[in-house]
């Protein structure tokens, strides 16, 4: 059975929504971070699916860039979280509101 493009797009949308909800609703920085990754990968999935559908290599290319940028982001993001944890003994992002106006 051939799985159609629609299924991929729906899966991508579901994953993206889950990621976005995770970013918005969760307080644990690690979880938020993982949710951001989830959204990136949802977008990657959509890219790959459309690339295959339209037989266009640009989609694949974008995915590689996204994976690269995400890897760098993970490096910096986790380092920040560790640094914050060391000073505040907490990674609750609601407690990181020192820069409020």
């Amino acid at each position: 059975m051939e799985i159609g493009i629609g299924a991929y797009v729906v899966l991508s949308a579901v994953l993206f929504t889950l990621g976005a909800l995770g970013v918005m609703l969760r307080r644990n920085a690690i979880i938020v971070f993982m949710s951001v990754e989830l959204m990136l990968n949802a977008a990657n999935l959509a890219f790959v699916a459309f690339a295959r559908q339209f037989n266009d290599v640009n989609g694949h290319l974008f995915v590689f860039f996204v994976i690269t940028v995400a890897a760098a982001e993970v490096g910096i993001g986790l380092a920040l979280i560790v640094a914050i944890f060391r000073t505040k003994k907490s990674i609750n992002i609601d407690s990181m509101n020192q820069l409020k106006g």
């Binding site: 976005a20 970013v23 918005m24 609703l25 307080r27 938020v32 992002i93 609601d94 990181m96 509101n97 020192q98 820069l99 409020k100 106006g101």
Partner: protein
Amino acid sequence: MESIPRIVPLVVVFPIIGLIINLFWGRRLGEKGAGWVASVAALLSFAMSLALAGYLVSNNFQAAIVNPPLIGEWIHIASANVNIPWQMRVDTLSVTMLLVVTGVGSIIHIYAIGYMHGDERFARFFAYLNLFLAFMLILVLGNNFLMMFVGWEGVGLSSFLLIGFWFDKAKGEGLKNSNAAKKAFIVNRVGDFGVLMSIFLMFWTFSTLDFFKPGEVVNTHLAEVSHGEEAAAEEAEAATPEDESHDAEAAAAEGEHGEVVALTSNDHLELSEMGVFGQAERMLEDNQDVTFGPITLSLKTTITLITLFMLLGVTGKSAQIPLFVWLPDAMAGPTPVSALIHAATMVTAGVYIMTRSNVLFVEASFTSFLVAIIGAGTAIMAGYIAIAQWDIKRVLAYSTISQLGFMVAAVGVGAYSAAMFHLVTHAFFKALLFLGSGSVIHGMEHGHHHVHEDEHGADHDDDFDPQDMRFMGGLITKMPLTYLAYIIGTLALAGIFPLAGFWSKDEILADAFTHGSDGHADGWIVLVLLLLAAGFTAFYMWRQVEMVFHGKPRSEAAAHASESPVIMTGPLMALAFLSIVGGFLNTPSILGLDQIFGLHRMTTWLEQSVVNAHAGEFQPLIAIIALGLALGAIAVARSVYGGEKAVTEDGSDPLAKGATAGLWQMAHTRLHWDEFYDAIAVRPYNATAYFLANIVDWEFLHDYIHNAIIGRGFKGLGDVLSKPVDLGIIDGVVNGVGSVIRRLADWMRQSQSGYVRLYAISFLLGVVLVLIILLIPMINQ
């Protein structure tokens, strides 16, 4: 010989050099140095004057006009045909004045070295004296009225500076001195207005201010008398080297055939080639009118106006009624100044300028009449006042006014040569008397200091006045040389034969007699008044001699007075000698004296430049009356003041009591002239000044206009602008903008909660919004 007149600028330059040296280096030169620099400058000027006199004698008295080098033209407006050069005139009249000014001036300079000894502003005094000399020489040397006026104003300035020289004396004396200086200056301004008006009128009428232009024959009457070659030769020489065109003309006039055509008149000259006096004579022959805008006056009337204005100036400078009041006060200056400026030279400037303008005065019969009356009136009035003064210098001041009256009266009766003669002799004996009085004052001060030596050398005796004759007496033994000089001066002034005053006064009286005999009433008036004045003169002078020198000393100071040093008595002797022989300058034919001294030498000399000069006939009767009056007055004075009774027990004059009390008091109060001027001029002026200053300026302009209207209005406007406008509107706008932004910011900063999740939500919502906006057009398709 031709080049000798070229030295004439040096006459003025020497005093200026002396002035500059004393001005800048006077203090460093010390007393001796500063004094001698000034004196040598004066002596060098005198030497130049002698050289010029020699030139005139050897050159047939022909005048020379010199344009000083380096300074060029003065006022030259080609388009308006105005040309007033710096031009000096060397003729017999100006050289006479030169000799008097520099000669008597030099003697007085030397005397002042002794008199001013110890003064803290010694060098400045001599700088001022040289300044005076320079201006006086400009006055007499100028060949036009404007240059004369420069000197005229300049001597006024020097006079002001020197009268107020001791402006810092203690006990209010200084204030009195500077007030006297101001009085002299201000009274003279009134006279100067007259001189200016007369200069303006002359310029309007004649378009020139030159006395004579180069090449003009001054005294055509003389030229007509001389004959043939001699006249022509004089003519050729009359033309100065500067005036080449006229030289050529004169040469042409001699003709080619060797036939001499004497240029005995100015007929060949254009009107514009002649000076004021030549033009006046020519225009009078043509009977021309003068137009002043809408008014047309005959030339005679114009000349009368010119001379009347000039007379006003003369009454100021030469101290005649009504402007004489400054001269008695001017005695506040140091005595050498009184001698030089206020007796011998400056005050005679008026007589000089009238003699210079004799052509005009002869034509203006009304002015001449007035001049005669003013002169004679001044002579007798001042002589009368002099009788009842206590101050030794004040007596001499009134005497000077009186003698100037003689000169002015002489001009009035047309006796120009007699006026100049009296000017010269008066310079000798009045300078002598002033310097003598200076010597007396000097001696009295010495005596005073001698007495008070123990008391720290300061003046403790407030009542002592070294010039008050009541404190003097008996000085004959203390100051024999001064006494000798003083008695010569007194006799010369009183007109005792054969001293200088006798001859010059007699010539004036004789001329007045001749004038009266010719049918002029003013001649007789002048004769009578001047004879009386001559009597007064002898009387007050002998009174002074009795009070100062005879009798017993009336104060400690007089008892201890000492003779002045040689540097002061030397000049006295020189002037005494001149006072004795000065009269023989113009000897009439009497007693064979003219065989020795020459007949009317001075008149012959002056005739060359003073057209209307003529020798006065000697009138034995008049001479005897005058001499008798003088001797009688001396006898009376001797009987009143002689012996021990010069001053009564209670310190007043013997004449101040009994029958003569009223007359004496009137003279003593100086006829209330000062009070009169105080009432008609000074007080109204002060009241006007007070009104203008206090009422108009202070109360109206300051209090009302400035404070009430401008000040309060400005303050009101300022209040409006500062409070409602600036504080209300402008500050309100600025603060309002600020507070709006602050409130906006306060509201907006609430969005910056610091909750990352909230940012994420808003980010998402933003993306959704953008997407919706992007998608809306697609839906419509």
